[in-house]
């Protein structure tokens, strides 16, 4: 590899030579791994190669201050999250189990339910105690109120009231009878009519009576009417007395009836002062609302469930029943936990899933709710522990991000109704007590998202002070290969896959380098490796093997490429069919094979692209046609502008640059960005200026600076393989190859067939450090170095370029003179 200084010198000076095939791929040594199958290996729990991130997590979980939440960035796939969760579980074991939280009815303000915290695991006990209390009262209270003792007392009160009325009406009736008048009940009230022998005198008979007699009767009736009116007006007062007396008896009876059950609840929960406070409120309310129990008891006896729409009929009471007010809504309980702080992951962090929600029941066309319909969110469940969230999910859910920040700042959970936030709420809701919040939030996201968010939201650093930046890869060495092998063994074992033999593991390690895009690194995108293992396990199963072999891994890799490569194959087909024009032999002035990489759905592949250049006299401007038609990105434009800088620094030092050149990516109909083709563009520009043909059996990649140094690019393996595939289809000539930046040699992890072709001399990879090396290889002429006389050697590429530029300058000067006489045009 290029770490050797001698090798580095070889790559940066002198003529370009094909790279040693051994440097095209770094194989892992199965024998050196020291095991036969992964079953021999001790698995690793947690993460490997992530010390920086682990240290961050340690700080994040250890600092008990506000805002020290974690933002984990990098390739944080499922395995990484699981590993982080495992670390958090360890940290959670050292934290005390948090309180249970319940909501109970607020008897004074029912729309503001009361939140009560209880020692861990006690909430269900409280809930059960209250449920048992209600159940007992549902039986006991009707019995008490049906008892003979109560009925006797109540009967006496009623009877006194009835007696008072009856006596008054009897007296009236008696007086009326004495005067031969009868008091009659009419549909709407009372009427007094003359009678005989207790029966009303028929109206004709009455009308036939002498006038004096009729008047006397009328006078008597008028007096009796006053008495009747007086009695009726007294009735409400008597009735109020009756009701007051009845209420007093009811309260006394209720107090006696509920005393014992309430006392049992108090004894059971004696160590919970806030609960006892609530129990006293329940006692007071029970006395006020005892009728609900008596009516329910009577209905139950009569087998009447009509009208009772609640769910209090069974052992497990459902919300919406008449006795809801005495129940307990256990929001979160640690009863089933092992005494540790909770570690909760919320995969769907909508606002309700995050901060909780208030549900409603339909009752006679209206939506109603009560405290029992308050449901916990992830913040409630994770309170006192850790909450794991995917940053992108939080950000894409309406209101969730701001709600999370509000909760972290105020350190309390306020249940927010989304419909209220957008102003569409049209029904009664609740305003529950906020619950104090004390938890650590761990957000997972990619780096781009984090950096964008950090730039766009200044509050990010306030709430997420700790960044756990997960490495994408780590250095490859015998030790790290062994470590990754153990990690692979862990995945296989945890996911109940077959063990893998050492050959198979070696290929996985090599693939890990390929994924890392660096032969000297191993990727830490463990989820990608896990997918590979799963598919290899599948192929091993199909092949009837007990262990996963190298062939299974290879099959999995090939199948993945096969499934993903439809677009690549179609594009290559177009080149083979000469629809897309790419030459792979011969030479041509102003034309070169550049290389680009396309990435579709996680599959990247290289593709040769023809770049051409035309030159003419002008004002010293290199025209980037891609940019002119807005198909070129800024990095591409930057690369092209660098070419002008290179030319200006190297040629025509004593005269203005009088060149006009146009560069184009032929048959490119999509956007072009990146500067990895800038060296190819410089080569083709020099070719056009020097009028020297460029070899078409070579393809070029690499960026260049103004001084002519060729710089590293990405996707080097895919680019080489992309050109190789075309050449192979057309038949390898032995002269074909790819020029890559020398600094990319360390990244080479080429396919077996490419390496094999290079080894057999049918293909070549040329490391290029300087433009002079590249142009020399492409044209077959030396680039040339300015001599003591200030000129480039005769026959060199640069001499031809400078001569052409000089000619352009002369032409331009001549045009300038003509323009000065008023006869020419300006350029």
């Amino acid at each position: 590899m290029a770490n050797n200084p001698a090798e580095r010198h070889e790559e940066t000076a002198g003529e370009a030579a094909p790279l040693d095939p051994d440097r095209l791929y770094r194989a892992a040594d199965p024998a050196g791994l020291g095991f036969e199958t992964t079953a021999d290996l001790e698995p690793i729990d947690g993460l490997i190669g992530q010390q920086r991130a682990l240290d961050a997590i340690t700080v994040g979980t250890g600092v008990p201050r506000q805002g020290f939440n974690l933002f984990a960035i990098g390739h944080t796939g499922a395995l990484t999250r699981r590993a982080v969760e495992s670390v958090l579980n360890d940290a959670a074991a050292d934290r005390p189990a948090p309180s249970d939280w319940v909501y109970v009815n607020n008897f004074k303000e029912p729309h503001r339910p009361i939140a009560i915290d209880l020692p861990a695991g006690r909430a269900p006990d409280f809930r059960d105690a209250m449920r048992e209390l209600v159940d007992e009262l549902k039986t006991a209270l009707p019995a008490v109120f049906q008892s003979e003792e109560y009925q006797t007392r109540r009967g006496a009160i009623d009877e006194a009231f009835q007696k008072k009325q009856a006596e008054a009406f009897s007296e009236l009736q008696k007086r009326a009878q004495e005067h031969n008048i009868v008091v009659m009940r009419t549909p709407m009230g009372f009427a007094l009519v003359p009678s005989r022998d207790g029966e009303p005198i028929p109206p004709p008979e009455f009308n036939a009576l002498p006038e004096e007699q009729r008047e006397a009767i009328q006078k008597t009736i008028a007096e009796l009417e006053k008495d009747l009116e007086h009695i009726v007006h007294q009735i409400p007062g008597w009735d109020k007395e009756r009701r007051d007396e009845l209420r007093r008896v009811n309260e006394e009876t209720a107090q006696i009836a509920i005393a014992q059950p309430i006392e049992e609840v108090r004894r059971r929960l004696a160590d919970l002062p806030r609960v006892l406070e609530h129990v006293e409120a329940v006692r007071a309310d029970l006395v006020e609302n005892i009728a609900a129990f008596v009516v329910a008891g009577t209905q139950a006896e009569a087998g009447d469930s009509g009208g009772s729409s609640g769910g209090d009929s069974g052992g497990e009471t459902l919300p919406g029943g008449p006795f809801d007010r005495y129940q307990v809504n256990v929001l979160v309980s640690q009863q089933d936990c092992d005494g540790c702080a909770p570690v909760i992951e919320e995969l769907h962090p909508t606002l309700p899933n995050l901060t909780g929600r208030i549900e409603h029941l339909a009752r006679q066309g209206a939506l109603v709710t009560n405290f029992r319909l308050i449901k916990p969110g992830a913040l409630h469940r994770a309170n006192g522990g850790y909450l794991l969230l995917d940053a992108r999910s939080v950000l894409t859910e309406p209101f969730s991000w701001t709600a999370l920040k509000r909760a972290l700042r105020s350190r309390q959970i306020v249940i927010e109704d989304p419909s209220r936030l957008v102003g569409t709420s049209s029904t009664i809701s609740l305003d529950p007590d906020p619950i104090p919040l004390d938890l650590k939030v761990v957000l997972f996201g990619d780096r781009t998202l984090y950096y964008m968010l950090a730039a766009a939201d200044p509050e990010l650093s306030e709430h997420f002070k700790i960044v756990a930046d997960f490495e994408d890869d780590f250095d490859r060495s015998a030790e790290t290969e062994a470590l990754l092998a153990r990690f692979i063994a862990s995945i296989l074992r945890r996911e109940s896959m077959k063990p893998m033999d050492a050959d198979g593991v070696a290929l996985v390690l090599e693939h890990a380098s390929r994924v890392a895009d660096n032969a000297g690194k191993l990727t830490l995108e463990v989820d990608q490796l896990r997918d590979l293992l799963a598919e290899a396990d599948f192929w091993a199963q199909k092949a009837g093997r007990d262990t996963i072999a190298r062939a299974d891994v290879r099959k999995a890799l090939d199948q993945w490429i096969w499934r993903s490569s439809r677009v690549r194959d179609r594009l290559q087909e177009q080149i083979i069919d000469k629809v897309s024009l790419i030459d792979t032999q011969g030479a041509r002035v102003g034309q070169i094979n550049g290389l680009s990489v396309m990435s579709l759905g996680g599959f990247a592949f290289g593709r040769p692209t023809r770049i051409t250049c035309q030159v003419r006299p002008g004002a010293g401007k290199v025209i980037d046609i891609e940019r002119e038609v807005e198909l070129g990105g800024p990095l591409h434009s930057k690369g092209v502008l660098i070419l002008s800088g290179f030319l200006a620094g190297r040629f025509a030092l004593d005269a203005p640059m009088s060149l006009s050149a146009s560069l184009v990516f032929e048959q490119s109909y999509g956007g072009v960005d990146g500067d990895s083709a800038s060296s190819a563009e410089l080569y083709v520009l020099l070719s056009a200026l020097a009028e020297l043909p460029i070899r078409q059996d070579l393809a070029v990649t690499g960026s260049v600076n103004q001084l002519g140094d060729v710089q590293a690019i990405g996707g080097v393996n895919e680019k080489i393989e992309g050109f190789f595939d075309i050449c192979r289809e057309r038949g390898l000539t032995g002269t074909q190859g790819v020029m890559i930046p020398a600094s990319n040699v360390r990244h080479l992890m080429l396919r077996d067939d490419v390496v094999e072709a290079c080894r057999e001399g049918r293909f070549a990879v040329y490391p290029i450090a300087r433009i002079e090396q590249g142009i020399s290889l492409l044209t077959g002429r030396p680039a040339g170095e300015r001599g003591p006389d200030g000129n480039f050697p005769e026959g060199s590429v640069y001499a031809a370029v400078e001569a052409r530029l000089q000619a352009f300058a002369d032409i331009r000067r001549s045009f300038g003179r003509e323009g000065g006489t008023g006869q020419g045009t300006t350029s």
Partner: protein
């Protein structure tokens, strides 16, 4: 063996007072328990509709507590509305109880209607009004008197019912007292037990003979308990009520002979004291022979 009465229908009558939902429901329930038809009589007293013919007559309206002139059209309208309300209530109760219902409008004085229409196979429902004025003033007293003087069995519903479940108590003054068969039939349908309170001339409070023995009463498959009570307990309703203490019954069935024939207040007072309906079986003293037959 006990005397069994072949009931044919449950008869519930309404005069001009507000219809009592609980009474209609209980009537329908009783019809269902005895598997007989339910018949509703809406009694339109001509005396009432003629009130407006008196010169200058007016009525004191309970709602609003004011005097209002009696207008014949308005009175007719209100009587009609009352009849419709009664019918609605009746139809609903019959449907819920699953019994056959028949609705009749009878134009007669209340007393006359109840004295003449029911037969010995009828059970007449008398529901005590909640309002004392309605209980005291015409026509309720006439209604009660007429019912007790009719041949029909009377089901008296007190204004306040304290229990809707529990055993059915039969107060039996003889071994073949009709109350035993009726109580047994009701209990069997309601899924309740029967307690027979045997009135004896011996010491009171003694436990009765085991089931199927002693009084020789056939109780079928209905769980039956027996108690004995001295005849002197029938002398007043307080004593009789004391004899039932602790039974927590849902209904008391007793013969008319338990109370004095001329005292219609006693059965109603007894029902009010117990807080449960009372079913008075048998004909009034001096009545014609009943349609009772002998049960096997």
């Amino acid at each position: 063996m006990s005397t069994r009465i072949a009931f044919k229908r449950v008869l519930v009558g309404f005069q001009q007072s507000a219809p009592d939902r609980a009474a209609v429901r209980l009537a329908a329930e009783l019809a269902g328990l005895l598997r007989v038809d339910l018949c509703c009589m809406c009694i339109e007293d001509p005396g009432l509709s003629g009130l407006a013919a008196y010169p200058g007559r007016r009525e004191f309206r309970v709602l609003g507590r004011h005097w209002s002139p009696l207008d014949s059209d308005q009175l007719s309208r209100e009587i009609d509305l009352h009849a419709r309300a009664v019918r609605r209530l009746f139809d609903e109760a019959a449907r819920r109880a699953g019994v056959q219902g028949r609705f009749e409008t009878v134009r007669a004085a209340v007393g006359e209607a109840l004295r003449s229409l029911p037969t010995s196979g009828d059970i007449v429902i008398i529901s005590e009004p909640q309002s004392p004025s309605e209980r005291v003033l015409a026509p309720f007293p006439q209604l009660v008197r007429a019912a007790f003087q009719s041949k029909a069995t009377v089901f008296y519903i007190p204004r306040r019912i304290v229990r809707r479940s529990g055993p059915v108590v039969a107060v039996a003054t003889s071994r073949d007292d009709a109350s035993i068969a009726v109580a047994t039939a009701v209990a069997a349908s309601a899924g309740e037990s029967v307690v027979v309170l045997e009135v004896t001339d011996g010491a009171d409070g003694a436990p009765a003979a085991p089931r199927g023995e002693g009084a020789g009463v056939s109780a079928g498959e209905v769980p039956t308990g027996r108690l004995r009570v001295a005849r002197r307990a029938l002398s007043d309703i307080a004593s009789l009520s004391a004899a039932l203490r602790g039974l927590d019954e849902r209904m008391v069935v007793l013969g008319r002979s338990v109370f004095r024939a001329d005292d219609v207040a006693m059965p109603s007072a007894f029902a009010a004291l117990r807080g449960v309906p009372v079913l008075l079986v048998g004909e009034p003293a001096g009545g014609e022979g009943s349609e009772a037959d002998e049960a096997a």
